[in-house]
Symmetry: C2
Subunit: 337 residues, 2 copies
């Protein structure tokens, strides 16, 4: 299979392929120009009759869960990146796939991190055909050098949700590592040793994947409250020793930059927004993760405090900096992805 | 169209129709014997391009919203019953439909109440073909007497959700009366003059209906938090003077029975459960609404208090009696429908 085919010029004037990894893609037509039609992706109907009557969906290991979920060649396997560089489960999934001789998988993380550099050997030996998501560190370099067998597709977080919802990417197995869960599969990210905050990037996966596996190191009695991931969508639960390394969850792009250049860019950006009249009582902003972007929030916070004003919401990476603003009464709400 | 056709004996030994209102139905096969196949209902893909860029989906009136949603003959219109006998919006919907000359609608409430007895005239003149849900009071009598043009279908709350999720009942327009909402359509039932608690019975409707209208008498600035109904699913929002009559929300089946006979049935039921060994630390129960069932909870509460025990959860109508138990530390969680 060719990585891509049929180049055309898109509305931004760039030559882009219309066939990527054998699938049709629609070139950018301009803002608001493309109106998708058709229906959302419809997952298979599940039946209580196919689950244990007591609601306990626990199986002995991640390997058993993957086998029961029907892991086979060519499948799409999704993971979330809420543990950032502290993720340990993604590597295990593909270790198991390689051990089972499964080939040609599409790995569909919401983002990939340096801690997953060990997966390069599986990209080389054909266990993984390609990554669709974001690729950082050694994995990013590997992709940029054109070494993946399939073509990497970088998807925005919102675009990823849309692709799943609309059936453009059909996830065969979603593996959702959860800091806390019950045996029915209800799960959250706020309790447990590997508490990472929220699990929002796994929501679309839980709703639309063909099979859903929740992996946790903190099993609580039913019901796990809050249940950001609903057990009704979950097929198997697995208890392991560790789902994430706490000290690595806050890492890289979730810290304020120390670079004087980047701090200056952030300060100038905040001042520009102010001069443009955007920083006012009840305004809102998104900063996401990323050292420079996060730092802009610091300057916004200073302006708000000085002027006794309050933002209505931050649509953000929900890390400690927006939380500090919430606690200081500088913003009403943080809206998570 | 015949109301029903093709009677067969089901697994409970009852003669039941397999064709109801022209649609095929599956007779009860026995517990766990029917395993549905196929895929869930897939609503149409929505596009931002079809909504106002500022996210303000407010239209001037419920009538305008229904017209924009394409109200026409034969459609299925859903409502929820969280206001119980204090609902005022359902009547308005069909007043508008009658005024527009629309006929043959299927009304799909999660339950109907005496306050909606005014709809009998629309069942008579053919504006409404039939009710599918539960029918109480005068509406119940009208159905029982066989006066509806179509055949009434009584659906359990869980069965209603399943029918929507699996596409057996496709809702054309869901009208969700909400005690609080923002202009984008995020809504909850906990704030506002007509606060009714939760809006869980409208969840399936919001996710699967073709068009969703949120009606509120308490519009708040975006974001309406908590947002039990997600604005992402909502097409139009309407602001009215009143969505529900507060003093009628607690009514009928959400009050403890005063009947000595029923109280005795409740007490004996609670004692039976106790003798059967079911009432123990960490147990759970569902009482729903209904005076007798609610009263069982009172006896459970007494037993728990006396024995210094705690239930794990109540799967219930989330009214003041389970809430009192929660506040008294007799139960860890209330799980809502």
């Amino acid at each position: 299979m060719k990585k891509y085919d049929k180049l055309v010029k898109n509305a931004a004037g760039r030559m882009v392929p219309t066939i990527v990894n054998g699938e049709e893609h629609i070139p950018f037509k301009g803002i608001g120009k493309h109106i998708p039609t058709g229906r959302k992706h419809a997952p298979h109907i599940a039946s209580c009759a196919n689950y244990p009557a007591d609601g306990n969906k626990t199986v002995a290991s991640l390997k058993e869960a993957l086998i029961k979920a029907g892991l086979k060649d060519g499948m799409t396997i999704s993971t979330h990146h809420h543990f950032r560089n502290g993720d340990v489960i993604s590597n295990q999934i593909f270790d198991i796939a390689a051990e089972l001789g499964v080939k040609n998988l599409r790995w569909y993380p919401s983002a990939s991190f340096p801690s997953q550099a060990g997966l390069i050997k599986y990209l080389e030996d054909g266990t993984i055909n390609r990554i669709e998501g974001s690729m950082n560190g050694a994995l990013g370099r590997f992709c940029s050098e054109g070494k993946m067998q399939g073509l990497g597709v970088l998807r925005s977080h919102g675009g990823r949700y849309q692709a799943v919802q609309d059936g453009e990417v059909q996830i065969d197995i979603a593996v959702i590592a959860a800091p806390t869960a019950d045996a029915f599969g209800n799960a959250n990210g706020v309790d447990g040793d590997a508490a990472c905050g929220l699990l929002g990037f796994a929501l679309a996966d839980s709703q639309y994947a063909d099979k859903v596996i929740v992996v946790t190191d903190n099993l609580v009695p039913f019901p796990c409250i809050p249940w950001q991931i609903h057990g009704n969508y979950v097929d198997y639960t697995v208890v392991v020793d560790q789902v994430g390394i706490p000290e690595k969850i806050i890492s890289g792009t979730t810290q304020i930059t120390k670079s004087p250049d980047r701090l200056m860019i952030a300060e100038m950006t905040a001042k520009f927004c102010d001069q443009a009249g955007i920083v006012k009582d009840g305004f809102s902003y998104q900063a996401g993760a990323g050292g420079t972007a996060l730092s802009i929030g610091i300057y916004f916070a200073e302006m708000l405090k000085e002027r006794k004003m309050k933002a209505r919401f931050i649509r953000a990476g929900s890390n400690k900096y927006p939380v500090q603003m919430l606690e200081d009464g500088l913003v009403d709400y943080i809206l998570d992805g």
